[in-house]
């Protein structure tokens, strides 16, 4: 239920960090990462995931397949 930041793609520009409605994005070693426990894929906040929209590099903020999608998790609970 989360986006993750592809480390090899991230430039550390910080554009995503202030845009996250959940404060799920944090700096680490000059780059940025997403705390999957906090990420809601922006559902309920915005029409599009903000990290994806703000990121200057395509395919950097991507769905982490190892987590259940947020919506599915919500429906299941």
């Amino acid at each position: 239920m989360a986006y993750r930041i592809e480390e090899s793609q991230c430039t550390g520009c910080s554009a995503c960090e202030p845009e996250c409605p959940n404060n799920a994005i944090y700096a680490t070693g000059g780059l940025y990462a997403i705390n999957p426990k906090k990420c809601t894929e922006c559902i309920g906040y915005f029409d599009e995931p903000q990290c994806v929209s703000a990121c200057p590099i395509d395919d950097t903020c991507v769905i982490d397949q190892s987590y259940t999608r947020y919506v599915a998790a919500q429906l299941g609970s």
Partner: protein, 523 residues
């Protein structure tokens, strides 16, 4: 403000350099001159080269020590950029944010990002080492207004520690309308907006998307939003009497003709100066334009467009398209001397007195230069001729011919006619002389870069390049070594006219020249 600020460095050691700063004007904000909006749209007689006599005194006061706003000032004064703003809110087809290279000199590229505290420390250190450094700009590597907290925090710290330094910023304009009040409150003197189009149909070929208020806009919608915000921001700046320069990237086949329209649009909204720059699009930079074979303009294409726009408003022709962390006179980059690591080792004394003395000396030299030019112009009085020549000049600054041909990283180009000598641009070149040995391939690129010039003025030149230049039709001239550029150009022109009259030479136009694209390797 106390003179004993200590900031913990990442290594945990206390930095003592701020503790030794002598602040003579404690807490005084930098002196800010007002700007007359009535004259902002007016045109001075000789473009951005305009001197004291041509400009509204209030504007002259604002630009006279600003190398990026006054061609005349750029021979004497230096600027620095601090890279505190990494995030950007738009994508441009000439920019690739994944590409960073320390050998590259162009916008959007930096080797080290700084926190506002590190940036303020760097500014104080540089200002102490380089008394001619009068201007601090934030220009990226992203967009300063997409990083408002970092940008304004930096300005706040610098205004407190080095109040005589002018502040400026460079933005794409998307967020500008929301920050005009803050820009004014922080005494930011000069704002540059990059405006490449005023028509969304053109804009969609330059900007794939913009990110605005939590939404990514694409195509024509994105370009429409951007141009609306740029115009709104520009109008708000001029209404608040903040001096505004517009940068435009000339992209042949996409916006080259359209930039005349951009020029009219920004002039009518009170922009003071228009800077049209050539597209940089090497494939290895990985930009959309670079990868898709979009070419940049030639030197004469660029000059023709600048000449056309000059009828409308002040044009800047001395832009070096510098890095977002550049330090020094335009055309030189001393950022390598001021890395965070090196700054931490420096004992910095911020000495207002020596800065003032330097600036006083510059004023005297400027007056001498103007007087020399005027005296030389008198000798041209009564000459009637349509001939215009371009002259390339090897210079280290101060408006003098004081560089060895082989040591020049760039040549400044002057157009000389019966109207006088006018700076029209510069040509970056690979260093011809490496360790005392001239290199043949490098000489060819120098010749290509100044191929539209009739002569090249140098302080000194070796026999071999002299012959090669002569063979290429460019006269190497060292007889004006260490003299003022404009005075010498006028003197050369007078002699040239005399030779044409006597039939000793036949005047012929020169061809075009190439704008150098590849990686810039500073020696």
């Amino acid at each position: 403000m106390a003179g004993s600020v200590q900031i913990a460095s990442p290594s945990g050691s206390k930095l003592k350099l701020l503790s030794s700063i002598k602040i003579e004007v404690n807490g005084q904000p930098a002196k800010q001159g007002g700007c007359s909006s009535s004259s902002a749209g007016g045109k001075a007689s000789c473009g951005s080269a305009a001197g004291a006599g041509d400009l509204d005194p209030e504007i002259w006061e604002k630009v006279k020590n600003h190398p990026c706003y006054s061609e005349e000032a750029h021979h004497h004064y230096a600027r620095m950029h601090v890279a505190v703003a990494p995030a950007c809110n738009i994508q441009c087809n000439y920019c690739n944010r994944k590409y960073d290279c320390s050998n590259e000199s162009r916008p959007g590229v930096v080797s080290e990002r700084l926190t506002p505290e590190q940036a303020a420390m760097k500014v104080v250190a540089v200002a102490s080492e380089i008394p001619q450094m009068t201007v601090l700009g934030i220009a990226g590597p992203g967009d300063p207004l997409a990083n408002p907290d970092k940008t304004f925090k930096t300005f706040e710290l610098i205004a407190r520690q080095a109040p005589d330094i002018k502040l400026c910023l460079s933005t794409n304009g998307l967020a500008l309308p929301d920050y005009v009040k803050q820009i004014k409150d922080f005494n930011v003197d000069h704002v540059t907006i990059t405006i490449n189009m005023v028509d969304p149909a053109v804009g969609e070929r330059i900007y794939p998307w913009v990110y605005f208020k939590h939404k990514r806009y694409r195509g024509r919608d994105a370009a429409k939003l951007l141009t609306d915000r740029q115009m709104e921001g520009l109008e708000a700046l001029t209404a608040n009497k903040i001096l505004c320069k517009v940068n435009s990237v000339m992209i042949p086949g996409i916006n080259d003709d359209h930039l005349l329209e951009v020029n009219r649009a920004v002039k009518s909204r009170g922009a003071f100066l228009h800077n049209i720059m050539p597209l940089i699009s090497e494939p290895e930079h990985g930009t959309y334009f670079g990868l898709n074979g979009q070419r940049g303009p030639s030197a004469q294409e660029l000059k023709a467009l600048q000449d056309k726009c000059e009828g409308e408003m002040n044009m800047m022709r001395h832009c070096r398209q510098c890095r977002a962390d550049a330090v020094g006179l335009l055309g030189e980059d001393r950022s390598g001397e001021f890395t965070t690591e090196k700054i931490e080792q420096m004992a910095v004394i911020y000495d207002f007195e020596s800065r003032r003395n330097y600036q006083k000396a510059v004023e005297e030299e400027r007056q001498a230069k103007v007087a020399a030019k005027r005296a030389e112009m008198d000798t041209l009085a009564g000459e009637l001729s349509d001939i215009k020549l371009l002259i390339a000049v090897a210079t280290k600054g101060s408006g003098k011919i004081n560089e060895h041909f082989g040591h020049a990283h760039e040549f400044q180009v002057y157009e000389v006619s019966t109207e006088g000598a006018k700076f029209i641009g510069h040509r970056r070149v690979d260093l011809y002389c490496q360790g005392g040995f001239g290199e043949e391939a490098a000489l060819e690129t120098v010749i290509r870069a100044i191929n539209d010039c009739h002569a090249v003025f140098v302080a000194k030149i070796g026999a071999c390049p002299k012959d090669e230049l002569t063979a290429a039709g460019i006269e190497p001239v060292d007889r004006y070594a260490h003299e003022f550029i404009e005075k010498s150009a006028i003197a050369y022109f007078r002699d040239y006219l005399a030779k044409v009259k006597s039939g000793e030479i036949v005047h012929a136009d020169r061809g075009d020249a190439a704008i150098r694209q590849g990686a810039f390797v500073a020696a």
